[in-house]
């Protein structure tokens, strides 16, 4: 059964082609074997290609403001999973779990999971 499913998926990929992959390398950009949680407010949601970005703002231990850039799937991929350009709005308080960027000064994450506690809205998934 698993083998049939694998063959079907492969056939599907072959027919549809491959779309919306990264313009950069994820393995080179993020620490894929680590996870990090950020609780912050939405600053801006860039719903775009080649990948969407969610800008968040929070404060560190000393009260200094930090802007986080959370990489997410391409607009088309997000749309297919129910995330629209107005799903998130500036000021929304969210909790994001992601893979941390290799370059700490970029304050960057690759999205794994996002939750908005105010209404329980959540998204979880993976993307290339």
């Amino acid at each position: 059964m698993k083998r049939k499913l694998f063959v079907l998926i492969l056939a599907g990929v072959s027919v549809l082609g491959v779309r919306a992959y990264a313009h950069h390398s994820f393995a080179s950009t993020y620490l894929e074997d680590q996870k990090m949680t950020v609780e912050a407010d939405v600053l801006q949601f860039l719903y775009r290609n080649p990948h969407s970005f969610l800008q968040l703002t929070s404060k560190d231990d000393k009260g200094k403001e930090i802007t986080w850039a959370v990489e997410w799937a391409a607009g088309g991929q997000l749309g297919a999973s129910g995330v629209q350009r107005d799903t998130l709005r500036p000021g929304d308080h969210v909790i994001v779990i992601g893979q941390p960027g290799r370059n700490p000064e970029d304050h960057r994450l690759r999205m794994i999971n996002i939750k908005r506690p105010s209404d329980g809205w959540t998204w979880k998934g993976s993307f290339d």
């Binding site: 491959v18 950069h24 390398s25 393995a27 080179s28 802007t67 850039a69 391409a74 370059n103 290339d128």
Partner: protein, 295 residues
């Protein structure tokens, strides 16, 4: 006599009906199979995995200075890759011929673009490449010709680009030779990179495609610049000896660091024998363990 005339007529007919050279039709949508080098073409390679790249010292030094954050500089987010991205990227191909409207003769073959690569125009009309001082860009200048059923395209006048998406670079002196080989409903594309600045030998990659009735886009979605965490004016880089990610191939896969650093010898099968005593098979693969999520 009558038989000889008939034979002659048939031979003449065949000469007229068949193209002067054994060219074949490459037009259509070619869906990438991506069964080879799936990590490199999918999520992307590790930051210091240059095994199999025939670097010289300059090529290795340039690669070691690279950090992926460079591609998030606002001016580089939508920067085109060179035509080598056909080999190193994951995408499918759309090909079509541009005919002379009067004679029907193919003037050029086109390979459609992606969001990160310009279209490739393969001029088939015998025009020469521009002079050595002509401008270079990511698209380059490409001419082609038939070798039997194989279309061979030669691209020059490129700007610097990537031969692997982790900073392994090609220079503006590089030449890409692309072989298009059709086998029924399959297409194999073999690309050779000759680069006198960063490589000691040609670097070769092949890819395979299936003919598809599902149209492959000829341009890809538009790329839009946005904040990816690198502010304008900052140029991320590693100084010599300061790349913190060398050794990851040893950590995750037991591959010796000398193999990770590339060089022509790492391209050849016999190199495995040379490093076999230094290779330690990990007890368990924990990260990116092969295609289709296999462990």
């Amino acid at each position: 006599m009558t038989f000889n005339k008939l034979s002659l007529s048939l031979a003449a007919l065949l000469c007229v009906a068949l193209p002067a050279m054994a060219e074949i039709d490459l037009s259509g949508s070619w869906a990438a199979i991506n069964h080879e080098d799936s990590l490199e073409r999918g999520g992307g390679p590790y930051p210091a995995d240059w095994a199999g790249i025939p670097f010289n010292e300059a090529g290795r030094a340039k690669a070691l200075s690279f950090t992926q954050s460079v591609i998030s500089m606002p001016e580089r987010i939508c920067w085109f890759q060179t035509q080598w991205h056909i080999a190193a990227g994951p995408f499918s191909l759309r090909m079509w011929a541009v005919p002379d409207p009067l004679t029907g003769k193919v003037l050029a073959w086109m390979v459609g673009a992606w969001e990160t690569r310009a279209p490739m125009t393969i001029y088939m009309d015998g025009r020469p490449h521009p002079g050595k001082n002509a401008p270079h860009d990511q698209t380059g200048f490409t001419t082609g010709g038939w070798n039997g059923n194989e279309l061979i395209a030669t691209t020059t006048h490129l700007k610097t680009g990537y031969i692997r998406r982790n900073g392994a670079a090609s220079s503006d002196q590089a030449t890409i030779t692309t072989h298009f080989l059709r086998h029924g409903d399959m297409l194999t594309v073999a690309l050779l990179m000759d680069d006198p600045v960063y490589l000691t030998e040609p670097y070769i990659l092949t890819r395979s495609y299936n003919l598809s009735t599902n149209p492959v886009a000829i341009g890809g979605p538009p790329c839009i610049v946005g904040d990816e965490g690198v502010e304008s004016g900052r140029v991320p880089h590693y100084l010599p000896g300061k790349n913190p990610y060398t050794g990851e191939m040893t950590k995750y896969y037991g591959i010796p660091e000398e193999a990770e650093m590339g060089g022509a010898q790492t391209m050849y099968p016999e190199y495995r024998d040379k490093i076999k005593d230094k290779f330690k098979l990990p007890a368990k693969c924990t990260l990116n363990c092969g295609g289709a999520g296999g462990n």
